[in-house]
């Protein structure tokens, strides 16, 4: 089955891995399609959940959403395994590789030796593909990197059994059966509407409202004597958006690309075009927002909370408009 495998670099690890995995098992699916059809665009701001003492901020749905939903949406049978015993997990993985069967893994970035040192933080939901093994080293197709990587089996096992929030517990997955006649157009329409509704949710910490909640929080920040916290808070937002969220409003551009692709499936093209442009606008606003955050944390005396908050609110209005449009599909 592996003959059709081709390593490619992607904007987002999970959608990238799913795209490569399904493509090499015979179902050609692009990264934007994998991302869009699982309704993965989102915004979450959870002040109660802390990561390194900072609130949880995410620009897309929770990790594993794509893997879990793709089987539901497309009727694909996926094998998903978690392990208690690291030795067994490694044995199984070697077995898959020897049968030249491509599998996806969830890992922690911190324990992967091929990552640059500066990028290694305790982020437990990084996805990659294992494509081969030479002696004790696995060959890895990691969507973040341009080329194939190599990783010692002990280190990889450590990364698979990292603990903490989103602990992978050796999570391994691959498609078992892909139906021959997959009708994308029906799934796409449903997925777009579902995503639009999710963005418009009345729950105040998610979607459009979540963005405004965060904007309000930023507008209330005061510099007096906690400069360090403000600097860390602002750069934390940027990190969640850029480092983990791929290039500014990367997920917004990814979703815009999906909407363009969706035009080929018998849906109202003008709505898709307009919404796609709105998401690009939102992505642009988010990039400017990130630049403002960085500028302010470099020169805190010039920190203007209102301007920054307004930028985020601006992005939220574009997304609201786009979601309202898409709901009508």
């Amino acid at each position: 089955m592996n003959q059709r495998f081709e390593h490619a670099q992607f904007a987002h690890c999970e959608s990238g891995v799913v795209s490569t995995l399904l493509s090499s098992y015979g179902l050609k699916i692009s990264e934007p399609m994998a991302f869009g059809i699982t309704s993965s665009l989102s915004f979450v701001y959870m002040p109660i959940v802390k990561i390194s003492n900072m609130p949880l901020i995410a620009y897309r749905d929770l990790p594993k959403n794509i893997i879990n939903n793709i089987s539901k949406v497309l009727g694909i049978e996926m094998v998903k395994k978690q392990y208690k015993d690291p030795i067994q997990a490694n044995k199984d993985l070697t077995q898959f590789v020897q049968n030249s069967q491509l599998v996806g893994l969830q890992t922690s970035v911190f324990y992967l030796p091929y990552f640059p040192k500066d990028m290694r933080f305790h982020f437990n939901a990084h996805n990659l593909l294992v494509v081969g093994k030479e002696e004790n080293n696995y060959t890895i197709s990691d969507p973040v990197f341009e080329t194939l990587m190599s990783c010692d089996e002990n280190e990889l096992t450590k990364a698979r059994f990292a603990r903490g929030i989103f602990a992978p517990k050796g999570f391994l997955y691959y498609p078992k059966h892909i139906p021959k006649d997959i009708n994308l157009s029906k799934g796409i329409k449903k997925a777009i509407i579902k995503n639009a509704k999710a963005l418009l949710t009345p729950f105040p910490y998610a979607g459009v409202k979540g963005m405004r909640k965060l904007a309000t929080k930023i507008s209330k920040l005061k510099v007096d004597n906690n400069e360090r916290h403000i600097k860390n808070f602002l750069t934390h937002i940027v990190r969640m958006q850029e480092e983990i969220g791929t290039g500014g409003g990367g997920f917004r551009f990814l979703y815009a690309a999906f909407l363009q692709e969706a035009k080929a499936y018998n849906l109202d093209k003008s709505i898709l075009q307009e919404a796609s442009e709105l998401f690009i606008k939102s992505g642009n606003a988010l990039r400017e927002f990130a630049l403002l955050c960085v500028e302010s944390s470099k020169k805190l005396e010039r920190f203007d909370s209102q301007t920054i908050a307004n930028k985020l609110t601006e992005a939220s209005f574009y997304e609201q408009e786009a979601a309202l449009l898409l709901k009508k599909l």
Binding site: F110, N232, V238, T246, E261
Partner: protein, 131 residues
């Protein structure tokens, strides 16, 4: 089609690697392009510097016999209290106590070994901690 810019700055934290994002090419189609963002670079570096500062502050507190070496190595491994607690499999209030020098001194080898494994160091580095 709405246009947008792909940042082509520099990002030293990637150590020569290049990441991709979606951009629009000349014929108006989306495709993956390499990018590098200095905003991302600054944010990552700030996070690293924060951990380095926490390490330095911890060293000072160790000298004053307030904090334990576990705290120093926790920050050195870029962990926070909840992460360390889940790695060693203890309740965080217990781990929090172990971050204090006076409780740390009473710990037995078995518990110290757990911490040493979690923090990827030798047990002696905890026992005979020198700066």
């Amino acid at each position: 089609m709405e246009k947008f810019e792909i940042p082509q700055e520099s990002n030293a934290t990637l150590n020569g690697q290049r990441k991709v994002m979606y951009g629009i090419n000349e014929s108006g189609k989306f495709e993956r392009v390499n990018y590098a963002s200095s905003a991302e670079e600054f944010a990552t570096q700030t996070a690293i510097e924060e951990f380095e500062q926490l390490c330095r502050e911890s060293l000072e507190r160790i000298q004053q016999e307030i904090s334990s070496p576990i705290e120093y190595f926790m920050y050195k491994n870029r962990m926070d209290l909840p992460t360390l607690s889940s790695v060693v499999g203890m309740f965080s209030f217990r781990v929090k106590r172990h971050l204090k020098m006076k409780h740390f001194k009473k710990l037995n080898d078995k518990i110290l070994q757990k911490y040493a494994e979690a923090l990827n160091i030798d047990i002696n580095e905890l026992k005979d901690f020198t700066q």
